[in-house]
């Protein structure tokens, strides 16, 4: 068995003169849940499409289970960002059809469709035509269609968009269950909460390039922990400022400042020995959301700086 289900190296794609994806690599360990995060228009969908061989990269290569993605189509399940089903088809048939496309027998596809739909509380619409369903329901049908053949790799492009909270929870459950079955899950999203709960590893793409790759903890570790310290009410402000690091900001009756992991224990010792008291103290690691925003803002700032430099050079020329 391959250690990595997906090995996409140096993917680059142009649309006209626009470089939609620039040298993006995705290496997805087998049996893991891997998230591709990024703001809208970052190049997530194009990267996934190239990874699956739906469109050809201008540069770079993609291997799935060590082979060309086209050679292992039957082992892949894919939910595209733009949802699509034949409106005239019944739900059960639509799922069986998608299974049949991946080599699943029609009758087995129908049987599994009924099982999945029942598990997800959709049994009342098994024989309903797609055109009569809500958008969320149709999306769940398509999701079932993409996993009905029990694929080894499941690729979901923005799977949570358009789903209500109940269905989002069902989808998370389904993703975990498929991972537990042994499948590898690769999904894109710009909703950090899902990624934080689900991902074993993740990549952040911004402005067409991969800007980060690692675990959720790695991402959160990019930013220092945040401290909120509330001294005793009668504590002297000058003494507090002298006790805390230089960047500490007072807000109301509390002080806020970042802290490196190594500095936590010395700080605690200083506070307890200072006699300023502790009315409240919290030391929290930043959320994935904060790390994501930090990374994207850094990239945007560097682009803005480049743009300003270009403008100055152009003016001088």
């Amino acid at each position: 068995m391959n250690d990595f289900s997906v090995e996409a190296i140096g993917l680059t794609k142009y649309f006209g003169d626009f470089k939609a994806v620039d040298n993006v690599s995705l290496t997805v360990p087998t049996g893991s849940i891997y998230g591709v995060l990024g703001p809208n228009g970052a190049g997530k969908t194009t990267s996934l499409r190239m990874t699956l061989g739906i469109i050809d990269p201008d540069e770079g290569t993609s291997r799935v289970f060590g082979e060309r993605p086209q050679a292992v189509r039957h082992r892949i399940g894919y939910l595209p960002e733009e949802r699509g089903l034949y409106p005239g088809m019944k739900a059960r048939e639509a799922i069986a059809f998608m299974g049949a496309l991946r080599g699943l027998d029609w009758s087995e596809g129908r049987r599994r469709a009924a099982t999945f739909m029942t598990e997800l509380g959709l049994e009342r619409v098994i024989d309903e035509k797609i055109r009569k369903m809500s958008k969320g329901m149709a999306q769940m049908i398509q999701l079932i269609g993409s996993i009905v053949h029990a694929p080894d790799l499941i690729v979901l492009d923005e799977p949570f968009s358009g789903l209500d909270p109940v269905n989002q929870e069902r989808l998370e459950m389904l993703v975990r269950r498929e991972r537990d079955r042994g499948a590898t899950i690769l999904f894109s999203t710009h909703v950090m909460a899902h990624a934080e709960r689900l991902c074993d590893r993740l990549a952040i793409i911004a402005r067409s390039q991969r800007r980060f790759e690692g675990t959720v903890d790695d991402a959160r570790g990019l930013l220092p922990m945040q401290v909120r310290y509330t001294p005793r009410a009668d504590a002297d402000a000058t003494a507090i400022a002298a006790l805390l690091p230089a960047g500490a900001e007072p807000r109301g009756d509390s002080w806020f400042f970042p802290i490196e992991d190594a500095d936590v224990e010395p700080l605690l010792a200083r506070i307890t020995g200072s006699g300023l008291g502790v009315a409240g103290l919290s030391i929290t690691r930043p959320a994935l959301h904060d790390a994501f925003v930090h990374i994207v803002r850094q990239v945007d700032a560097s682009f803005d700086a480049d743009a300003r430099t270009d403008a100055v050079e152009e003016a001088l020329a």
Partner: protein
């Protein structure tokens, strides 16, 4: 079964059922009734035109120089006494350089109904259709010329009639069969293959195309769609064949057998029915059906490929005109080829891939060689594959924006 074939059948099954299992399919199935109605109306007009045009064309007499004047005089006399309009008489003086009567009968530029040559007492009369009025009229002319020259009683002229024939059947009839095959294949292709132009619009409109492109090779999507539409076309043909058979049987039960027999013996249709294509009826019908399939696949593949490039319904509608013109162009080329078997034009029509199925079906009516059809079918199948391949490349490059066909150019310009 290979995965490619299985994928193709999955797509074909979906498309076939999506078309057939709808109420609008009934309307589509019954569309020929409207066509028959319009045809009847048009036919009455055409019949009137044909009546007024009857008599145009020519009959040719190749005689000795001494008989020319007598022949013209006889023609003037007889023409006045014959109630029916007789084609114009063209008199040629016999010489070693004079063309063979069969060649004269096949000359282009005018319809030649009959050609008389040889001694007037025992003339050879080559007719376009066996037992024609034109042939009998030439025999009467020969008889009249001989009587006007002789003093005493003469034995009756003994003409030797000969239809433009091959293997006992008139070439003209075989050409008509060939034309009929071209027309039927063209009509069915026009009615049925044109639908493929919009077949990918559904997938593009409801975004299913990405699911298909991710799951199966696009070639199998294209071929599956063609196969699905071909299934619809075959169902359509089978339906009308069954209807025709049932209608024929019901009519036969209603008509008095004696009356039917008398009509058959008197009718010229009997001769037409008795005519056999050069390759024989079973082969002709079988190969005609196969050529319909190839014609459908070839033109359908082109339309599918062109239609796949269209982004909107309006664009698809705009594509209909050039597509129809293209089809009519292929029909014109093939009918021209059918009317001139063995000519360079017919060879061109048989080789040009998009007219090849039509022209080869016509050839099966006039030429008894069968092996050449295997070659033609292989040639056409190669073109089906080629068109599908090119369509997929275009589709990937244009619609899925994933092609690499301009990669070299792009790299150069970006460098």
């Amino acid at each position: 079964m290979t995965p490619f074939l299985r994928n193709m059948l999955v797509i074909a099954r979906r498309d076939f059922l999506a078309i057939v299992a709808t109420p609008t399919f009934l309307l589509f199935l019954l569309a020929p009734l409207f066509m028959v109605g319009m045809g009847l109306a048009g036919g009455m007009g055409a019949s009137q035109l044909a009546d007024s045009a009857r008599g145009a064309g020519r009959i040719v007499a190749v005689v000795g120089a001494g008989d020319v004047e007598a022949l013209r005089a006889a023609d003037a006399r007889l023409r006045a006494s014959v109630a029916r309009r007789v084609p114009v008489l063209e008199v040629r003086i016999a010489s070693p350089a004079t063309a063979d009567p069969v060649a004269i009968a096949r000359e282009k530029g005018s319809d030649t109904y009959a050609v008389l040559s040889g001694p007037l007492a025992t003339p050879r009369i080559v007719e376009r259709e066996a037992d024609s009025n034109a042939g009998h009229y030439l025999a009467l002319l020969a008889d009249d010329v001989l009587r006007s020259k002789a003093a005493g009683p003469l034995p009756a002229v003994a003409p030797k009639f000969e239809a433009l024939s091959s293997g006992g059947t008139s070439i003209a009839l075989q050409q008509s069969l060939g034309f009929g095959a071209v027309f039927i294949i063209f009509l069915l292709t026009l009615l049925l293959a044109g639908q493929t132009v919009s077949s990918l619009a559904e997938e593009k409109g409801n975004k299913v195309i990405e699911i298909l492109a991710a799951a199966v090779p696009l070639e199998s999507v294209f071929l599956g769609k063609l196969l699905g539409f071909l299934g619809v076309a075959v169902l359509f043909i089978a339906f009308w064949l069954v209807m025709a058979l049932v209608g024929g049987m019901i009519a036969a039960l209603q008509i008095d057998p004696a009356a039917l027999a008398s009509v058959q013996s008197a009718s010229k249709a009997t001769a037409a029915l008795a005519a056999a294509p050069a390759t024989g009826w079973p082969f002709f019908l079988g190969i005609g059906f196969v050529y319909f399939i190839l014609s459908f696949l070839l033109l359908g593949a082109v339309f599918l490929g062109v239609g796949a490039q269209a982004a909107t319904v309006r664009e698809i509608q705009m594509l209909s005109l050039p597509i129809t013109i293209f089809q009519v162009g292929m029909f014109s080329l093939s009918t021209a080829a059918a009317s001139a078997p063995g000519s360079t034009l017919s060879t061109v029509a048989q080789i040009f891939p998009f007219s090849s199925p039509l022209a080869m079906a016509a050839r099966a009516a006039t030429d008894d060689s069968k092996a050449v059809h295997l070659l033609a079918l292989g040639w056409q199948a190669i073109w089906v594959a080629l068109v599908i391949f090119l369509s997929v490349r275009l589709f990937r490059a244009g619609v899925l924006s994933g092609g690499s066909s301009w990669k070299f150019w792009r790299k150069k310009t970006r460098a």
